[in-house]
Symmetry: C2
Subunit: 147 residues, 2 copies
Amino acid sequence: MKLSTRARYGTRALLDLALHADSGPVRLKDIARRQDVSLQYLEHLVAPLIGAGLVSSIRGPRGGLVLGKRAGEIKMSQVVEVLEGSTAPVECVTNPDTCNRSATCAVRDLWVEIKDTVDGVMASLTLAEMVERQKKKEETKAEMYFI
Amino acid sequence: MKLSTRARYGTRALLDLALHADSGPVRLKDIARRQDVSLQYLEHLVAPLIGAGLVSSIRGPRGGLVLGKRAGEIKMSQVVEVLEGSTAPVECVTNPDTCNRSATCAVRDLWVEIKDTVDGVMASLTLAEMVERQKKKEETKAEMYFI
DNA sequence: TCTAAGTATACAAAGTTAGTCAACAATGTC
DNA sequence: GACATTGTTGACTAACTTTGTATACTTAGA
């Protein structure tokens, strides 16, 4: 049930972008540095995000990335779907024809349940809420150092 | 978020075993045939199930596999855990030290939520319930042919 | 026209998965 | 006790996926 680094890094990159979106386009290079991902690998992860319209790019000097939609309109389920494909743990969930048992397989039903549950969790969370959570966590940490 | 074939085949094999458990030990060979898995590969999948006590083996002629516990005492979460390891989608969920952001990473919190949800679904379902479901599905299918 | 950015494609190293082969161990039956 | 039947184990490998790197290219602002 592992996620690939695509989804992990990509999600973090998008959150990083959202967190720094106030001050104009955010350079990939800066995201790469802050998130400890190589610039060249990050380029691969950003491409599908741009393709899906979650991110827009601005070329040339002073260019960079901006969100393609408002953060409140970006569901985390969509982000993971774009980066990683379906969250179905097994092929037959999305494509029943790949297994001739699908119609009468109780095990498949379990995988379907799991996919639906996972999607539910991620669909109920937007990037804007992730930004809030992240800010809150950083504040709390800062306070802890202060004390 | 893919499951490996270990978990898929292994789960099906265990359900198959539970379904045919009435008439004494079930031969691996028969499970392999019914489930379309090579005998030699299935042997590898069964090994950890035996190790975890979910299955017991009987050698020699008329031998085979039997359940190591009552089906009602076998949670599906345990089955998947034995076959596949933790359901955590990301390493840092079970082992926060693998990433120095863990303490202040909102993304990690999301992965934790997902793991807990998945575990919840699978922990609330026993092998006995899977057997019931499977029988019901087969009955329903038989009826459909009859009509 | 120079430079700072993103874009695209090809390639490759490393690791994982899925599966086979082959020798072995235990046990019931005749 | 010989033999057939069943499970056990470990070595090995082919294929695939992941995780990157390298390189050449495009766009656009100063």
